[in-house]
């Protein structure tokens, strides 16, 4: 009997050991990433990525409005002698006027969205009491400095500048606190004579660079017959790259990190670089990181029209959360084509050309520091192929569906940041107040769900919304302008959660009629840093100890 009992016990123990061994082998057989996640999840929840800092920059480019904005270049073809082109120059703003423009001071962080909301619209006839060129998010760069920065960002000797122009403005760019010697060293001492620049524009299809309506340089074509490397495309791409460099440098500085800490850069502008064999080959991100001096970074480009930045941020957060890269920068420069996009309406209504600013932004995400606001990837909104394009379906997929999955109500989000276009620009063009329209839609859906009463419809945009302040540069106003403020508002305890919403009009590329959108939630830090978690080695140690203890028990029973 005694021997039979020991035998039964041994058999049960062997079976139990087998089960445990089976589980252990199963764990070890998984792909290494899966296994890491499995083990980390088993012991400790995954550490969310955090927003370490953000940079926002503007560049005043009045001459590019005239020469590179598509509304103007189209008009020059279809209606060259029309009134619009004659009247346009007198509606351009001076650099000083752009500094005293309220929305611009909000964009670089000297004023807040709340400050702006208290100023009656329109804003273009009012002067902001702050007229600083530098703000704590970034700066407003004048055109003359930017043309030199473009040359610094050109590594194929395509940007030619007139000697006198460079001599006159080199010191100003060198004095810019964000520009270091490595960038200044990229601007050659020997520049080009104006006669040669005139010849290049006249005979070689070079794209002219103008300042105060005077030719001061040009961008040459990078290939004789490849349209993807034409002077026009190279100009557009170098502008995007240079403004992205400025944003990236501002973002890194504001995050308070060393440049070498950035391991990955994602560019999310709306341009494409490549040649006739790979028109959108890329890679703006790495090219930008090179000029910015991020020697430890690699990177890639993410595209999705205006939804690009939101997609890129979700991808960046996932890269950090997975442990693939510790610090990731999401960056984008501005777009020359959209300069003066609504210029006809602005001129017709006697307003200044308000679309004279290139925009740029950068957000730095890093491993959880236990303090900075987190990106919560568990509350992701996604417009899928099957969602449909009715506004109701779009807002549902981006706002209420993810909140439903997380068991939250619309009112649990303190601030929504959808398309943050400046209404001063869009209203005179007949496009209305875009952020306000978004808030009304979210509120209407909240009423339909019973999250708020119908009587609260009017108050919803005030309580959960923001007044738009971003230039109409496509991807630039799309959700991301608030991230810098959201970080500060969450750290200050003013709000707990913000939802960033990006939307994109994919049909513009004529590849699909589908709409697109993605959203994510930024929330207060839960207080646990990545360092406080349990490492994979520790988990392995814990399993090994459990196995050892089990073996000891087995041996004791056998004895």
């Amino acid at each position: 009997m005694r021997h039979g009992s020991i035998l039964r016990q041994c058999c049960e123990s062997v079976r139990a050991a087998g089960r445990l061994l089976h589980r252990f082998i199963a764990i070890n057989r998984r792909e290494s990433t899966d296994r890491k996640i499995y083990l980390r999840k088993a012991v400790n929840p995954i550490m969310k990525s955090v927003i370490k800092g953000a940079g926002y920059i503007l560049v005043h480019t009045p001459d590019m409005v005239l020469h590179n904005g598509t509304t103007q270049t189209t008009e020059r073809i279809v209606n060259p002698d029309g009134e619009y082109l004659k009247e346009l120059p007198s509606h351009l703003r001076s650099f000083e006027q752009t500094l005293s423009y309220w929305p611009n001071q909000v964009y670089i962080g000297n004023k807040t969205p709340d400050d702006l909301a208290a100023v009656p619209q329109p804003w273009c006839d009012k002067e902001c009491d702050v007229k600083e060129r530098f703000g704590h998010f970034g700066q407003i760069m004048p055109q003359e400095e930017f043309l030199l920065l473009m040359q610094a960002c050109d590594v194929f000797d395509l940007v030619k500048l007139e000697q006198g122009f460079v001599d006159a403005h080199r010191a100003a760019l060198a004095a810019n606190p964000i520009i270091d010697e490595s960038i200044m060293a990229r601007i050659p001492e020997q520049q080009t004579a104006i006669d040669e620049i005139e010849r290049l524009v006249k005979e070689e299809h070079s794209e002219g660079l103008y300042h105060q309506d005077k030719l001061v340089g040009c961008v040459n074509r990078a290939h004789d017959i490849d349209v993807n490397l034409s002077a026009h495309v190279m100009h557009e791409n170098i502008v995007s790259k240079a403004s992205s460099v400025l944003a990236l440098l501002s973002g890194v500085k504001n995050a308070g990190i060393d440049k070498d800490e950035v391991e990955y850069v994602i560019d999310c502008c709306e341009e494409a670089c490549g040649d006739m064999n790979q028109r959108g080959g890329g890679n703006f991100a790495k090219a930008t990181a090179e000029i910015a001096g991020l020697n430890n970074a690699t990177g890639s480009d993410a595209r999705g029209f205006c939804a690009g930045p939101a997609h890129a941020l979700v991808e960046a957060a996932a890269l950090v959360e997975s442990g693939a890269y510790k610090t990731v920068a999401v960056t984008a420069g501005g777009c020359t084509a959209k300069l003066g996009m609504n210029g006809k309406d602005h001129v017709k209504k006697g307003l200044p050309i308000l679309e004279d600013m290139l925009g740029g932004f950068c957000v730095i995400l890093s491993a959880n520091d236990g303090v900075s606001p987190e990106i919560n990837l568990e509350i992701l909104g996604r417009h899928t192929v099957g969602t449909g394009s009715a506004p109701q379906a779009v807002i549902g997929s981006l706002v209420t569906d993810p909140l439903d999955r997380a068991g939250l109500k619309v009112t649990d989000i303190d601030k929504f940041s959808p398309e943050m276009q400046n209404p001063d620009i869009t209203k005179p063009a007949g496009a209305g107040d875009v952020p306000l329209a978004n808030y009304k839609m979210i509120a209407a859906l909240a009423v339909k769900r019973g999250d708020i009463e119908k009587a609260d419809l009017g108050n919803f945009p005030v309580k959960h919304g923001l007044t738009g302040w971003a230039p109409t540069q496509g991807h630039i106003p799309s959700g991301v302008p608030y991230i810098g403020f959201a970080r500060e508002d969450i750290l200050a305890g003013k709000i707990k959660r913000a939802m960033i919403i990006g939307k994109g009009s994919l049909f513009l590329g004529r590849m699909t009629n589908l709409f697109d959108g993605v959203s994510f939630v930024i929330q207060a830090n839960s207080g646990e840093s990545a360092e406080s978690g349990v490492s994979e080695e520790e988990v392995k140690g814990m399993i090994a100890k459990a196995m050892k203890d089990f073996a000891a028990t087995l041996m004791a029973q056998a004895e």
Partner: protein
Amino acid sequence: MDLENQKRVKEFADQYGPENVVVLLGAAEGEASGLAAETVTNGDPTYAGPLTGVSLGLTVYHVCEPEVKAEFDPAVYDEQVSMMEMVLDVDDICNEMRAIREQYCKYLG
């Protein structure tokens, strides 16, 4: 109205005959609705697109107008449009659309 859309509207009018085409708008503002409606009836008021000086006189409605709403399955309308109906200034849009139709439409019943 977008130049490409003007081109497509013009092509449809040529292909099916202007009397057989109805343009349905979804613009968010009265002014924008009126501009689009004027473009497909009297011609492009901005003198930029293919409909410049082309008075197609097409029948044009906004999706939030009662005449259009009556044509819908109420369940579909509730799912697709009711939220926007709550958001938009429907009266303003209807007034703009009616004025343009009365002035320029050539094929009203």
